[in-house]
Symmetry: D2
């Protein structure tokens, strides 16, 4: 029997603990695929999983929702969206979201598949008791119907994983923002989501992209990818004043929140021009409330505020294609701060939580 | 010299006071029109004007922004948007907003004319020192370029004034809501704006229209025009539960706020389904703040929130056409609670403020 | 063994012929449903099927794509989009389109499910050799996953079938038209699709709805449902002039083509105002070419032209809900011209082809 | 008296002839500006003006609608859209479209200002008898209210004029195309409009931009600016096949017609994928008809076809800002093939007509 090593988060006496476990390599149902993991991401959500912040997580789980690997085995022919069959040895990634039902009111009438109550997510809402459903594992079991995507030849696994879940989330935020040519876009927060929201705004024809983050360290990544302006002031009024200065005292056409801080909502609305657009993409966990004045900040402003939750296949697919196209311009792999072995997961989580590093990546097998 | 009587609000020792004054009938500049007022509306904004709540009002002013009258004199040929010349004796109304510049960044680049800094409003931002620029006057001076509109033959002045400024504001809110066929629309507040938001939602093909107002008295108007459901509960949780019951526990596809109460924003978002649309149309003055949870109420909800400020000519024009078309169905004139003479303005303001009546109307001349 | 009678179209010596056949009642796979047919529609597509006009039809087939029936048997629990289980005896309809894959580029990236190459259609692209997959049969086999919908209690089977496939197709056309409040909508063609395009335009808040059809007989249905204007002139120039007269010489804001005649496209563009919208919904089979002048009819006109193909579940669902809501206003069942027995299918097809009747319906079982 | 030399097209015995004339330098009305011309464009429209192809041109005219010059005199303070006053010596351009009325149905209700019947265009619809209203003149008189725009400091007059009217027209076409991230955009025609449609598609985040033109010479400009693919085949079927090969046999997500050839419409629709978007931007004069099949090319294709006529200030403004931003990447000035003196206008027109050169520019004064 072949053994597969994986890192598991489990609940022991009301506390989440991490340990390395061994699992037998699974049998493959028809249409399923076994992946040998190359890289798996460590993201802010994993820190929240470790703290038990998310409701409905079926601990024990194998974390790791964005992954890239090599197809090791398949049961039968498995094809991509263009009906091209995958081959053993292909370097692929897959959409972590699975089991969107296409049969409920949200899927069929509202056409809001990210709000389908039946969707499940690799690395988050599958239990380790049910199989190898996360990327912090030497192998990953891709159930029949999981949406697999071959990496374009010029996008290396390290380039891809540098985007992690921040890249498609940033793309979805930009799609919701409906940026128009020459728009000024302000992005609040220079973590992975904010950085990719800024990058995809640049790619979308923004006139200027401004990244706002009180931490000068975090602004380094924004500077590296060449955004037009960074604002690192530590007071809200000063940050707003800086955006006003860059926009003829009107505010940004589009502001994208990617900070995780509820207070950013009030500040971001003040940074946005009348009849502008404000996208809320950073409030993925409940970090508290914010006080708003609906007269000045919504009604009189004639503003559009848009929440953005989750991603679907289109965001994932377009992200991969665009990362391949713009690889030379942005040098994605440089965003990976450090690659950790399976035994170093605890350190990786601490580094992500302390914001010491920009992007942490797990390599569960020897590279 | 012909004298024109008008009611003026002026600031005396930091208090706004009302008095009746006499003005000489003005000379007419080329392209201008003198209207003999039939009806002028008393709306919530007038109550705020009386209390000095609005910034930048050049007291003394003649209030009355929505008006209908008869063309008494013109200087030269004045035409409508179809290039049809007006005639002496025509029964007309006009867009209170004037001097939108078509030369600033908001007009030309953002195409957000309701945010043009140069726009002025009859009855609100013109001083009585400069002329007869409000409807609580026997005559109104329409400056050259004011957008005048003849009432369709089947819409009486009383039908028209029953809509007041609530009708085009409600239409603009519904336009911002982009209602789709069969949508459930919940409207918060059953005053003039809310009622017309409900009516235009019905006309737009909503599957069901629900009006929510803690005052059973105010719900009478909603019942009279035939909305599908009214909810008059006095607790927020109960109102939300009622909407949920009517929407398969999902919430409304579209919720339109027309309450004036900042707390309604939080309640309204909870009434709205995931990926739904929430329009904020009732916060026309600063009535305070609201506490929101951006994770649960915006981001995870994947919701669109849209402020709606002011109206432009298109809203005004469409409102008049649609009121004419649907006159028999809704019997607009029935919404006028009481017609007041020029000498009864103080009473009219008190009745509007106390919510004792639905719609108060001034008739400055004997009818 | 229980026998099921059905009408089959089969290809004999390059000609399509009709005959009545008997089939054994099928076993039910888990999740499947057996329907006892109440009504099945005869539509224009069925005439084309009879003439062999459509490519890729796997004759022999059992026609009848829009159907209503009673649930006679189920294998296991089958639920609707709200997760409500169906019961034996429920009166239901179902979306004829099935097997949309949710796995191809059109489904996942373009989100254009009506262009999914894997979708199949009851009554058209399923072979009678494979089962009871059409409504001109006493019973219909609903495969697992077919989207079933219970009729609202106030919508009778006859009301529902009166809409047939024209109703959701008309709704889809109206959705594509993005009608705005007070728009003038011109509809070309007063057959089932045109009539429902007109009805849903009325429901959507159009200022006036004009139905254009050279046949005065066919205009009767439009008059019956109360459209604002009908134009029955027999020359193209005169029809256009009539629309111009009703629109201040500008043309309709929105024109919807539902005529099936390629020449209608050129006429329809001439009826549409500059910067208006033109929806092409009637060219469901190849009836030939049209000559257009791209300078005058497209570029200079700054017009939007939108093709509309097929329907998805949302159109079907909304159609049923709105037909229930507006049943008293429109009296749908009155649109059914005649109910035919299974043995009268040939007559029904001839009546539909000759345009002698508005809506033909098959009742495969005794009512 | 100061004399101004200008080139005039006038109608002599039913033929348009060119001559150089002298005009007195005009007095300036309050709010007007006198420009010393640096460059004026020669575009395809000027060739049509020379041939008398356009209806309603008030010959004699001074051609030249896109211009850049130095402010020589002003009467009073003239300000830009940000309320910044212009100074003598400023290098500016201006929107050729003037007198859009903001008072007609198209301006106020349809909000389609490019269809305003009152708009006039410098260099085309103003008569030389009325003043210096075109750029093939040493000086240009800017009437009060003409929308003037200062060139950004890093955009030289030669860079700006290289864009000419093709640049804002291309931007408007791209705006109408609503390009989404990663879309494949095919552009038909590699003249000035097509080239800028391609460039703004690249800037908008297209996944690949394909320029199609049967003339290999004209494709040089497209290659120079770095589009992803050029297709120069001389047969329609082969051009379509090439696009199909680049798009997984689906066709382009967006195709923009900028060829001027009516036959391109049919070809372009065949190049576009189902549910794609087709923008018609090149049919600025009536060059004849095209035969289309509405079943295969519109209805079944579920396609959007959008005409695009004229530009407004927003397109002009954004073009100038984006040309400044992307100057180093594209090196605009390189697109100017040759600068002609006022005396060489005849040669310039011949060179443009023969497609011998990409962009011809007049310098009416010594540089």
């Amino acid at each position: 029997m072949i053994e597969v090593k994986a890192v598991v988060m489990e609940k022991i006496a009301e506390k989440i603990e991490i340990s390395m476990k061994s699992y037998p390599e699974p049998d493959l149902a028809p249409g399923s695929v076994l992946l040998r993991t190359i890289y798996s991401e460590v993201c802010g959500t994993d820190v929240h999983l470790m703290k038990g912040h998310l409701a409905g997580v079926p601990y024990p789980i194998i974390p790791g929702h964005i992954n890239v690997g090599v197809i090791e085995r398949m049961n039968g022919s498995v094809t991509d969206i263009n009906n091209e069959p995958f081959q053993i040895g292909d370097v692929v990634t897959f959409l972590d979201v699975h089991e969107t039902c296409h049969a409920c009111w949200y899927c069929l009438v509202a056409k809001a598949s990210t709000r389908c109550p039946n969707r499940k997510v690799y690395g988050i809402t599958y239990s380790a008791l049910d199989g190898l459903f996360g990327g912090w594992s030497q192998k990953i079991y891709l159930k029949p119907g999981v949406k697999i995507l071959k990496l374009p030849s010029n996008l290396t696994p390290k380039d891809f994983i540098a985007g992690g879940c921040g890249a498609p989330t940033g793309l979805h935020a930009v799609e919701r923002a409906t940026i128009r040519l020459n728009d000024t876009v302000a992005v609040q927060g220079s973590g992975p989501v904010g950085l990719f929201a800024a990058i995809f705004s640049m790619i979308s024809g923004a006139g200027q992209v401004i990244v706002v983050d009180p931490s000068q360290t975090r602004l380094q990544a924004a500077k590296m990818v060449g955004v037009d302006h960074t604002i690192g002031s530590t007071t809200s009024d000063h940050r707003i004043a800086e955006v006003m200065k860059l926009t003829n005292q009107r505010g940004a056409d589009v502001t994208i929140e990617a900070s995780g801080n509820p207070q950013a909502i009030s500040e971001g609305l003040r940074m946005t021009r009348d009849n502008g657009t404000y996208v809320v993409a950073g409030q993925y966990t409940d970090a508290g409330d914010v006080v708003l004045n609906p007269h000045w900040q919504i009604n009189r402003k004639h503003v559009d505020i848009r929440g953005v939750w989750g991603i679907d296949y289109s965001h994932f697919y377009k992200t991969v294609q665009l990362m391949a196209k713009h690889r030379d311009r942005f040098g994605w792999h440089r965003l990976v701060s450090r690659v950790y072995g399976l035994g170093e997961v605890q350190t990786a989580l601490e580094d992500v939580e302390s914001l010491k590093i920009f992007k942490a990546v797990i390599a569960p097998n020897d590279l």
